[in-house]
Symmetry: C2
Subunit: 610 residues, 2 copies
């Protein structure tokens, strides 16, 4: 397909010169470009296809970057990237763009995204800053209905609704977040979504009733203070209006003309406005319209058929899902909780087999954690399956609700360690420091599926907060001589001069490195609290190297080092950790750069043994 209009745009504001037909043609070109590039590299397809017209209309009506557009999560920002002059070829790979808004890429990306439900808070802050500076430029937040289950959206709307700030919130409602939406808000949105004439109708009714010169006695008696009454009754009947927003919509999110008219109205109001837009996730590409969940975040696929280029179900996530099903069969107290990640965390089977013990609470990690603690207080054995990066949201709940008075909650942490293409906003390199700060936590890091099962069994048999964490990966091969016995640790004695300590998937890297160098290896499975037995083993060596997929401050390696010092160790102790925020690139490459792959380990050991 020719991209004639796209190529003709010299700057973003050139969009404003196009007529409706040309704008529609531009949308087709954008869809083609997105499909072409995402089918090659993978990426967030369905949400991007659904937001094409909306993005074009936003840039038509608002003057980015003076009127900034803040994208919630960022799963829908590819059209925005293209329209602001960026090439999405190779997006999410090391040499391509980030899959999320990133201010270092463009002045049109004023605020980072990646985690859900932050956009209104950020946009309100920017809008208040503009107000203080005397500008009445609009600030736009675009938020999907999926992100609306997150408490921050409510906190921000509660705050915004009483301000007189020039904030436009666009609710991009496709009845989905990653999976179909759950929760009362989703049900409510579905209700108002289906009533296109609803709010116009309200105007008419009031108008008509108030015009009537004579009204019956019965009505009269209840309508005495009709004006106030109707004002309260009708104009307050929408939850967004209760929150002080002017509500506009619902508007058809694929009708450019209607979108432009609605957004212009919103821009003119100069107070908090909510524009409700109905979109179809995956719009314009049949496979993704039919299976929006599959095409939410998708691997490379054949554009013609929609089939994945490499189909694989072998992962820690799916192993986790199978094990939890097996355990739940034997123990009817086991419940599973997810925050809108049924598929991502491998819980699809569990949700179908044990619906009464399965809880998808929506994107709401704080609630999920305290809810789990509540289930435990009620006598159940809950497991909250969550990505490492999203558990950051629930730090206080793990501490306050599950640990001060210990509740037996198991946390299954997926995407622990380096994550790959999602980049900085999604790295699982912080959970170790925050969880080890909480008194009483127990943390297991299996390096294969058998160990994962063992660890989950231990976690369900113990008390208090028990954590089992595993990477976004499949289990790795290890050299044959490294046979694990699945205790709390495995110790492989080699050269008495040099010990490599590690856990999780890095064990495979360490094992290969040790095979070549004959270094000793201490693989820990139960990584926290650190048992004194481990210290006793380590202190016998002159050179101890700890390799860990975590930031250093607060890492197991750091805790281990201090315990070693206390035990009188006076050899050389080296920590190899992840430093800083890791940008998007392949996991293997990130491991190399941070010195955590087998070659780096080998070189470190060789250096020590020189």
């Amino acid at each position: 397909m020719e991209h004639e209009i796209l190529e003709s745009l010299k700057q973003t504001s050139d969009i404003k010169k196009l007529n409706i037909d040309r704008l529609n043609a531009l949308c087709s070109e954008l869809r083609d470009e997105i499909l072409c590039k995402v089918s090659e590299t993978g990426g967030h397809l369905a949400s991007n296809l659904g937001a094409v017209e909306l993005t074009v209309a936003l840039h038509y009506v608002f003057d980015s970057p003076d009127e900034p557009i803040i994208w919630d999560v960022g799963h829908q920002c590819y059209s925005h990237k293209i329209l602001t002059g960026r090439d999405i070829t190779g997006i999410r790979t090391e040499n391509g763009l980030s899959g999320f808004p990133k201010s270092s890429e463009s002045e049109h990306d004023l605020f980072v995204a990646g985690h859900a439900s932050t956009s209104i808070s950020a946009a309100l802050g920017i809008a208040e800053a503009k107000k203080i500076a005397g500008s009445d430029n609009s600030v736009v937040a675009v938020v999907g209905d999926g992100a609306c289950s997150g408490g921050m959206i409510f906190e921000a709307m509660n705050n915004a609704g009483r301000s007189q700030t020039n904030l436009v919130v666009v609710l991009n409602d496709n009845e989905m977040s990653i999976s179909p939406n759950v929760g009362a808000m989703a049900k409510y949105l579905a209700k108002i979504r289906s009533k296109e004439g609803y709010f116009r109708f309200k105007d008419n009714l009031e108008h008509t009733l108030l015009k009537i010169p004579f009204i019956g006695k019965g009505i009269y008696s209840v309508l005495r203070s009709a004006k106030t009454f109707f004002k309260d009754m009708f104009y307050s009947s929408n939850t967004f209006e209760h929150f002080g927003f002017t509500y506009l919509g619902p508007a058809d999110g694929h009708d450019i003309d209607m979108l432009i008219r609605t957004l212009r109205r919103a821009k003119s109001i100069k107070k908090p406005v909510l524009v409700h837009v109905n979109t179809v996730k995956g719009k314009g590409y049949e496979p993704s319209e039919k299976m929006p969940s599959k095409f939410h975040g998708v691997a490379p696929f054949y554009r013609e058929s929609g089939e994945l280029k490499k189909e694989s179900t072998d992962s820690f996530s799916s192993a986790f899902g199978n094990i939890i099903c097996k355990l739940a069969e034997k123990d009817d107290k086991i419940c599973a909780i997810t925050a809108a990640m049924t598929d991502g965390t491998g819980l699809r089977d569990f949700s179908e087999k044990y619906p009464e013990r399965f809880f998808d609470v929506g994107i709401a990690e704080e609630h999920a954690m305290t809810f789990a603690a509540g289930l435990a207080a009620g006598g159940m054995k809950p497991i909250f399956a969550v990505y490492s990066t999203f558990l950051q949201r629930a730090y206080d709940q793990v501490l306050h609700d599950a640990s001060i008075e210990p509740k037996h909650v198991v946390i299954g942490i997926d995407r622990a360690g380096i994550v790959g293409g999602d980049g900085e906003t999604h790295q699982g390199t912080f959970d170790i420091p925050i969880l080890t700060s909480i008194p009483g936590t127990v943390i297991y890091c299996p390096s294969d599926y058998n160990e994962l099962e063992n660890d989950l069994l231990k976690a369900f048999s113990a008390d208090g907060v028990q954590i089992v964490r595993y990477p976004r990966d499949k289990e790795r091969d290890i050299p044959k001589k490294f046979v694990k016995e699945y205790g709390d640790f495995d110790y492989f004695e080699g050269n008495p001069e040099c010990l490599v300590i590690t856990y999780g998937r890095l064990f495979a890297e360490a094992a290969f490195a040790a095979e070549e160098t004959d270094a000793s290896v201490l693989k820990i499975g139960k990584v926290f609290p650190i048992e004194h037995e481990l210290i006793e083993i380590a202190r016998k060596y002159k050179n101890v190297y700890f390799f860990e997929e975590s930031v250093e401050f607060g890492s197991i390696a750091e805790h281990f080092g201090n315990m070693l010092s206390k035990a009188g160790f006076d050899g050389k102790y080296e920590i190899h950790c992840v430093s800083g925020f890791v940008p998007h690139m392949s996991v293997e490459n990130a491991m190399k750069i941070h010195g955590l792959d087998r070659n780096s380990i080998k070189n470190a050991v060789k250096e020590a043994l020189k």
Copy 2:
């Protein structure tokens, strides 16, 4: 006053035998008991006085502990403690009860509280557990309108509203949290609160309109589908109903009879119900009715006059408030943000002098942090003043929204370190580990007001996330020879064998200990990142002792220890930190128990120099 009825109650359920008059008399006795005891020890007075009738009615209608009552925050649980057989004499002191619900005290306290907005999540978890176990007992959550600005409430209601679970949420609406409430939700509640007949009225209107045999043409045309229309229009006009709750109220929260009838109705519904109860904060004691904010959390006072026994405004919080006002006078980009703690954080003056640059966002720490990052993205210089324990809620926002793409946000952390009477749920002993895990943070810990000002100046002059943390305390005297120069650290050379390192208020303790023992003292002001200069000083000593009001894992002491090891230090290094969760007791006593007071420091040094 005689407590005849209270003394006659052998078990909680005996309340059920009393008639309305006796219940009212019981309420008077409870108020008297609370006033008598809290005026002696201090505590949360006003919220407790407001919830007396509600508590009595709850225990009258529900069968605790089989039908558990989960108190949000716990500022209103004193009557509950008394009615469940506990003596509140000396509450919040070392030998008395906790000021918050605590399951180790009573089977009637099923879930911990202290932080706001958790009750519905916990109660829903317990209710789902009961449902799975086949019980249809109710679970009650009591939540104040203040806590309703917290996102967890929304997340939990969103989740609960679609369940068919037997959950009763009592909204204790006194138009206050700690200060008068802000935000759209508060405004909305005030609106429905003022309309006692509102929801009964809705019933009448529908009934009347539908009965009319003849209606005019104008009405007819709009009322064609009257039934559906009215169902949508009237029964959905309340936000709680939009969320799938049956709404009952508003009920007078000081009318025992009405409360009992409403709660009975709620108990009979067996699905999620919201009971809206209007109460008066401070009810029944004139000084606290007039000044509910002052009597929210109050020091010991004279019952007759309401005057505090010791009036003191000397604190880090008020020094902080003064300094921020001074800085804001010179720099009109400085904005201040609080999450419902205008008085607690010392920002009252600022809020009055610079209303356009002051933002009280309600109890909503997550939003507060991202909103601050938004202000920074818009060119302002925001400071978010927050208690250490509540910042735990915003870990992900500090990391994701303010640090990945660094925003110049200053965080003023109040109540850092040990807090005293509030106990486990409020200790400021975790912020160091979590904040040092985030790449790029800079942390200052002043030990007096001058240093606080210096540190704030530095923080506002730098970039990225800058943190200044200080205790719930006033500045402490130090021996005269320890004259600080307010650099990033101060080094007091004494005995070359032994170095004490510390920061914040512990510096005073260390200085007194050093005066007697002649130990060297390294006082760090900029505690993170740790400068190599400090390591160079420390490595010259044979004995290094680090004293810190933080949990150990992730502490500055731990980071320091690892840097020392890396630098080849081979002396003795000892970390003295806080261990575990610190229960309610005086700060001085907690410091003693955890080995952080001047005597403990002295003894450690003496031991080393033997």
